[in-house]
Amino acid sequence: MLVKWLTQVKLAALLAAVFVHGPLISQQMDSAYDLMARMAKASKELSYSGLFTYEFRGNLTSVKVEHVVRDGETYERIVYMDGPEREIVRRGENINCMRASDMLLRGSALKINDNTYAHLQDFYNFYIRGDARIAGRQVSVVNVIPKDKYRYGYVIAIDKETGLMLQSVLINRQGKPMERFQFVDVSIGTQVNDIEFSSELIDSADIGADQSDCLEGNQQAKVSESRWTPRWLPAGFVLSSYQPAGTDGQESLMYTDGLAVFSVFIDSSSKIRNLPKVDANLGATVAVLTNTEFNDQRFAICVVGEIPRSTASQIANAIAPIPARPMQ
């Protein structure tokens, strides 16, 4: 009788182990993904200032950043600490403005068209690697691994206390790091709110934040009014921004899948459209310049982004004019 009871206990333990095991694994994935969503929120809504380093291919630069949220608006400043003195100031961004990448990172599925939705978890796997200490703060390290070959992976360290991203490493298809961004010193929270935003530097750019890219609450991705469209895109990329052609004859379309971003520039000006086809790399960023003819007019097409070069080439070759729209 004892033997019978023991076997039944063993059986029960085995079944329990199997049923608990399953949810635990998916729990790990879920909490890694929750960390990413928390990071997206924190980077918009927190006030912080600090010094970070940016490294690629053995080159290291350091940059000072200030990001202040005051009365629902954001003020940001970047000061380059190496090389010529330059700074960039951006103000007026409404913190309630949700852009495509914000929504994707927070887990919404964005509707591209009637049949297709873009949802971040469909294209990346998220794993919590462990804990570390960066810039004097405790962080969780998350591995972000792409599910297909059209995008890169990341290793991201997220502050445990506030959710701010303190380190981000871009990993290519072979598993090698391509660029690294890491905070060296950071202060987060209310003590940053008193920073005054006056610029004393000579070379300073003050750019306004374009609010036209904010999405309405209906989770519909932006629809392009452009005359051009890519006939092929890697799955999961949605249009996040569109700038129509100005006096310089340059249109730009920006796509994101929540993490990776690339831009498409279409030039009709005579100076640009005669440039040869080139591929260029600047660290992790790749630029593919090609040209095409339509209606006896030549256009230069350039795809720029932190995506694999083969993906950028494919996209550049797939840019085509929309036949129904009249060309100007």
């Binding site: 085995l14 079944l15 997206a40 990001h67 380059y80 852009r99 598993g175 961004f181 750019i207 350039c302």
Partner: protein
């Protein structure tokens, strides 16, 4: 003895010696199990042969027949047929083991087969591999001399290719086809710098990485952005 009886006797003695065939054994058991207590029947033969062999070997002989009592006791014992619950848990446990092994196998393969960076590479960043198409061994394009690196200090890379850190901080350009028309390399570079700056400022607004994309633009004319 009649022929069948003689054959039966031979079968019984063969069974006692452990040398009977299966057919014989079955026949004997059938005969012995029959209810009749015939003096010449298989059952009494069985008993007498056993007594005879016991006497011959000097083993103690008992005249007590326990067979009826034993048969009764066996009848009283409940049959060990597995209940349906036991059958279910038996097969469920086999299924559970198989399922958990399969799940572990799938998850393990998933973790290892996708590209996964080793932790030390990402955290230490001791050396970045320069892929072949990034090396400066392209064709006729030379880097213009006015783009000088902003690096004052050499970065530490463990045993890496130190020549990399002294290259100018410029885009590495490769023409994809033989250049037949005239073009100015300066124009290409100027255009690309402008493009990269515009992309970075869009990305800084439209991605989750805050102001990081601006850090990528290190050779820009920072003040001319007007978007």
């Amino acid at each position: 003895m009649t022929d069948p009886e003689q054959r039966l006797a031979e079968s019984i003695s063969a069974l006692m010696d452990g040398e009977s065939t299966e057919l014989e054994t079955h026949r004997i058991l059938k005969e012995v199990g029959s209810a009749t207590v015939n003096k010449q029947g298989a059952r009494s033969k069985w008993q007498r042969y056993h007594i005879a062999s016991s006497i011959m070997t000097g083993a103690p002989v008992a005249k007590i027949d326990l067979s009826a009592a034993i048969a009764q006791a066996v009848d009283l014992e409940e049959t060990h047929r597995p209940s349906s619950l036991q059958k279910f848990t038996g097969s469920a446990s086999r299924f559970a083991i198989a399922a958990s092994v399969a799940m572990l196998a799938i998850l393990g393969v998933q973790q290892f087969s996708t590209v996964e960076p080793s932790g030390s590479d990402a955290v230490q960043f001791a050396e970045v591999a320069v892929t072949a198409d990034q090396q400066n061994n392209g064709p006729a394009i030379q880097f213009p001399s006015d783009f000088q690196p902003n690096i004052q200090a050499r970065t530490v890379s463990a045993g890496g290719n130190n020549k990399v850190s002294q290259k100018p901080l410029v885009p590495v350009i490769q023409a994809r086809q033989t250049v037949s028309q005239q073009y100015s390399e300066q124009e290409v570079r100027a255009y690309l710098n402008d493009i990269i700056l515009k992309h970075s400022s869009h990305a800084a607004l439209n991605s989750s990485q805050g102001m990081l994309p601006f850090a990528r633009v290190t050779t820009s004319e920072g003040g001319s952005s007007d978007d």
